[in-house]
Symmetry: C3
Subunit: 181 residues, 3 copies
């Protein structure tokens, strides 16, 4: 590839420049800061366009690229130092635990083209899933309902529902069974 | 799981609320800060209850959850940006090198229960071990004497003594032999 | 190993103590800071001895150990939160993309010796390569021209030119073909 030929003219940032500057400052100083507190983090993200349900707990040091492309259902947790790098939408269902240090990547490039075109793809995580500490979720990945991506694993493609997935790349190592409510 | 049913009532934090608040501030501002200096970091951790031997070197940007659950022997090194997330005890023997960016995780959840019960398990690292840069050590893991967890590897279960362990999950790839002292 | 016997007397830091102190401050406060802007980051690195070509884009939160051991060609990108831990030289060709969170490690130790001798080895990345987000590149690794190290992968040995390499440790999973310019 030749990076002077780089092509991303189709990419829409989804917010005005001024909004983005305010978000850069707010995100960096507050959301990604060490100050404890969840409710004001939820409020700050909503102020910049995130859709967030009830009962959501957000720990310190969260990094979010574009809050206006973040949708979180009810009763989700986002652990310390989670990084949601959402050039495209990141959609979380209900009752999802994202553990500390997890990273969501929505951007890629067309490595077959000299212009190294930007490719962005959303990430969808279905309800009752657990994204383990220090794990990574790649562009376009869909995580099925009730699935566990274990500690330090790297999800590069769709993970089946109610499975325990592990490794780099993450593969299903067993089924998850859960005592009924 | 249903996170509104979350169950962690058996978990004891091991310190008063006021001590924890002071630790949050001190840990974040000083221990995890960029200011060089090892001896004062050792002193700060001891002040909050860590047991630390002689000859211990601590680099900047160390994150420790609960210093009162950290035990370090003699002549250990903790590299830059190490994160010891010790809800349970992390116990290090003597002459251990923890390289930069390594992460210790002691917390997990019972994924078979709707209440997603908190599970915490200690990490034990025996003497003469080397935990490589950017590696991860999971809850309950015991690392045998003289073992090397290589660069970027993820330890999810016990590692045998005097072995070189690698990958995600880390497995023994060869034995370690060492010239006698 | 016995860390009180540690041996690194052959290691040359390549700069005066005063230069290093100034770099520690500048690197930490500015290069690794959140302030946007690429051109002044390039300038700062050059001021401390880095050789950097034209058309280079550097994103915030870059960590560089020794700028005087960093060589970057033309039209390279360094993403957010990249960490170049270059005790030895890190040499990048032209048109290289280093994505966010990538880590370059040039230091190791002789684990067969009681004195745990420091070993440093350069990293060489040939032109038109892409080092994916959150990937890791180990000491002495040579990355061939046009090679892609995928998201979250760990390169521990040489990667062949024009290959797509993946996993931990990273291995070639296919060849890369590119439409001619």
């Amino acid at each position: 590839m030749y990076l002077d030929l780089y092509e991303n003219s189709n990419f829409k940032r989804g917010a005005s420049r001024i909004k983005e500057v305010f978000w850069l400052l707010s995100g960096d100083m507050f959301l990604a800061g060490s100050l404890p507190g969840s409710f004001w983090r939820v409020g700050l993200l909503r102020l910049f366009g995130a859709k967030i349900g009830v009962g959501v707990v957000i720990k310190p040091k969260l990094r979010v690229k574009f809050p206006w492309r973040l949708n979180i259902g009810n009763y989700c947790w986002l652990g310390e130092s989670v990084w949601i790098d959402n050039l495209a939408e990141v959609n979380l269902g209900d009752h999802i635990c994202i553990s500390q240090g997890a990273y969501f990547c929505t951007g890629s490039h067309d490595w077959g083209k000299q212009s190294f075109d930007l490719i962005v793809k959303p990430i969808n995580v279905a309800s009752h899933s657990w994204i383990g500490a220090m794990s990574r979720v790649g562009p376009g990945v869909t995580i099925g309902e009730g699935t566990v991506l274990t500690f330090g694993s790297v999800a590069t493609r769709a993970l089946a529902p109610w499975s325990i997935c592990s490794g780099n790349p993450a593969i299903e190592i067993k089924k998850r069974s859960m005592v009924k409510r």
